[in-house]
Amino acid sequence: MRPIDVIEGKVSVLDRANVDTDQIIPKQFLKRVERTGFGEFLFYDWIRDGEIELEPNPILVAGANFGCGSSREHAPWALEDFGFQAIVAPSFADIFYSNCTKIGLLPAVLDEEHCKAVAEAGEARIDLDDETVNCAAGVFQFQIEPEVKHRLLNGLDDIGITLENEGAIDQFEAERRASFGPVTTSL
């Protein structure tokens, strides 16, 4: 994962609430077993049908509850591959938000009014360390979990960090009764 520091540039706008991951990347593209190359299928039906137009700018401003529905990480993969580095929205669906943070696509929550202002400004500068979105209309603060921020700022591998706790995991497993939970390999 590439470290994130400052994301700066033009803003694309998708002014709709409850955009689901089935729209972001339709199901027929989930059959690929690779992790790359999803960008050309982003919003496949909406773009092909002329319902929306999207420029591959660094920043996307979206509506509330963005990324609801399916847990498919293909959705953030497609957004990132298309060219977006950050998404600004009034709210995100939980799984989608988490998926974004795992691949270094920065989700920033601003209230609706500030999202509109960023969209209208057309350009913005997002500073992850300061947790700010800076545009012609002003400087808006967003919040992000300290652990997530640390990982994004440094481009760290989640698994690598967790492995630092391996001793604790070993101990946790040892302390549990051997009989705890079903054993899938002996069914």
Binding site: N18, K31, D45
Partner: protein, 461 residues
């Protein structure tokens, strides 16, 4: 301080702050290939194959194709074969096409008894919330997290807030768990539960069977909820007992499980109360599950909506769905009926639908199909003669899988086709590009198949 069920499960699985131990990891073919690749790239091993279980469901044809190598669609075939190969390489038990334990991942977990109270369960699928019906903490994850769990059996998680939805009174005749959850999402909105682990409680919930409880927890994600949960009780224990993975010392397990329910006086971050007796059979009219009305209502008028955002979304949804505001829901005529999916494909769902169609015929304008959730459900239904009931009414009786819930396999809607579906999502294009989905209960879907339009199941017999 009194604790909620969520608190107890969370705290008993916290290896380190924010690091949660996972008791069961369910795997399927769509969201796992890149995770296995990640393991190989980093030279990492799979930590606990004995807590991991895989099946093929999303891509599998339901036409009787009984081996991965026989799948006609090349991409689907590669994906299912990749799953089989990965499972073999990493030592994971896999019930793929051809296994008598194959089926939708959220149907086979409970069926095998690997879903048990007090556990933490994850899967790269948002409907993992289904397993919370057993008093487990179960939630969907993305592929990076799938890789994380494969590697270390733990997940870094932000502790969600807690919500309790209490249902007073009893569901009335003809009203099902599907209607209860659709009505709840209709009230809270598709983002209304975002950030919360939701516990469903009250007499209307306690009275439900396990399949009914699974339907409710399944659709928690459609309200944005991280997880849905229901306190385990005798109904839960009876379900688990005797299943292949049931604990050897069942009495000891039950004693542990009885400690799980939320204690009196425990506090939730949000409380919602719903009058269960006031719920009617529901039908969605739009393109998200929150766009839903009672079957006796009409298609809503966007002009009467308060917020400009809702109005615009409703206008778009009506245009997509090909519906006019003010049309009675009972005048809407689906050409397709789909009974299946991880929401409503268990034996009880099929029994309810069969009861409606028994001795009747599917309307000439309708093509209807029943897709059992698993090979085991199919076998049980056939032993009861349900397949004959459906077949002689004019339904197609198919093999187990996700089928037309998400159109990743040959079962899809054509452009403009309208479907009464027992699945969970009415998103644009979900069941096929340009397809129009109305979410309903199995009973309502069966009655719509017979009549050729939606009916109020309460006055229909």
């Amino acid at each position: 301080m009194p604790k909620t069920m969520f608190d107890k499960i969370w705290e008993s699985h916290e290896v380190a702050p924010g690091l949660i131990y996972i008791d069961l990891h369910l795997v399927h073919e769509v969201t796992s290939p890149q995770a296995f690749d990640g393991l190989r790239l980093a030279g990492r091993k799979l930590r606990r194959p004995d807590k991991t279980l895989a099946t093929a469901d999303h891509n599998t044809p339901t036409d009787g194709t009984m081996a991965a190598r026989l799948i006609a669609d090349q991409l689907s075939r590669v994906q299912v074969e990749t799953l089989e190969r990965n499972c073999e390489e990493f030592g994971i038990p896999v019930y793929s096409l051809g296994s008598d334990r194959q089926g939708i991942v959220h149907v086979i977990g409970p069926e095998l008894g690997v879903t048990q109270p007090g556990m933490t369960i994850v899967c790269g699928d948002s409907h993992t919330s289904t397993h919370g019906a057993f008093g487990a903490l179960a939630f969907g994850i993305g592929t990076s997290e799938v890789e994380h769990v494969l590697a270390i059996q733990c997940l870094v998680q932000k502790r969600p807030k807690t919500m309790r939805i209490s249902y007073a009174g009893e569901l009335r005749h003809g009203v099902t768990p599907k209607d209860l959850i659709l009505a709840t999402i209709g009230r809270l909105g598709t983002g209304g539960m975002t950030g919360y682990a939701v516990e469903y409680a009250g007499p209307a919930i306690a009275a439900l069977s396990m399949p009914g409880r699974m339907t409710i927890c399944n659709m928690t994600i459609e309200g944005g909820g991280r997880a849905g949960m229901i306190a385990p009780d005798e109904t839960t224990f009876e379900w688990v007992q005797g299943r292949p993975a049931a604990p050897a010392d069942f009495a000891a397990a039950m004693a542990r499980w009885r400690e799980l329910p939320t204690e009196a006086g425990a506090s939730f971050d949000a409380e919602v109360e719903v009058d269960a007796a006031g719920i009617s059979p529901m039908v969605t009219w739009g393109t998200n599950p929150g766009q839903v009305v009672e079957v006796t209502d009409t298609v809503p008028d966007p002009a009467e909506m308060d917020s400009p955002g809702d109005r615009e979304a409703a206008e778009r949804a009506l245009a997509y769905m090909g519906l006019q505001a003010g049309t009675p829901m009972t005048e809407i005529a689906p050409e397709r009926v789909f009974i299946g999916s991880c929401t409503n494909s268990r034996i009880e769902d099929l029994r309810e639908a069969a009861q409606i169609v028994d001795g009747r015929r599917v309307a000439g304008s309708v093509r209807a199909m029943v897709v059992p959730g698993s090979q085991q459900v199919k076998k049980a239904a056939e032993a009861e003669g349900l397949d004959e009931v459906f077949r002689s009414a004019g339904f197609e009786w198919r093999e187990a899988g996700c089928s037309m819930c998400l159109g990743m396999n040959p079962d899809t809607l054509d452009e403009g086709e309208r479907c009464a579906s027992t699945s969970n999502r009415n998103f644009e294009g979900r069941q096929g590009k340009g397809g129009r989905t109305h979410l309903v209960s199995p009973k309502m879907a069966a009655a719509a198949a017979v009549e050729g339009h939606f009916v109020d199941i309460r006055d229909w017999s």
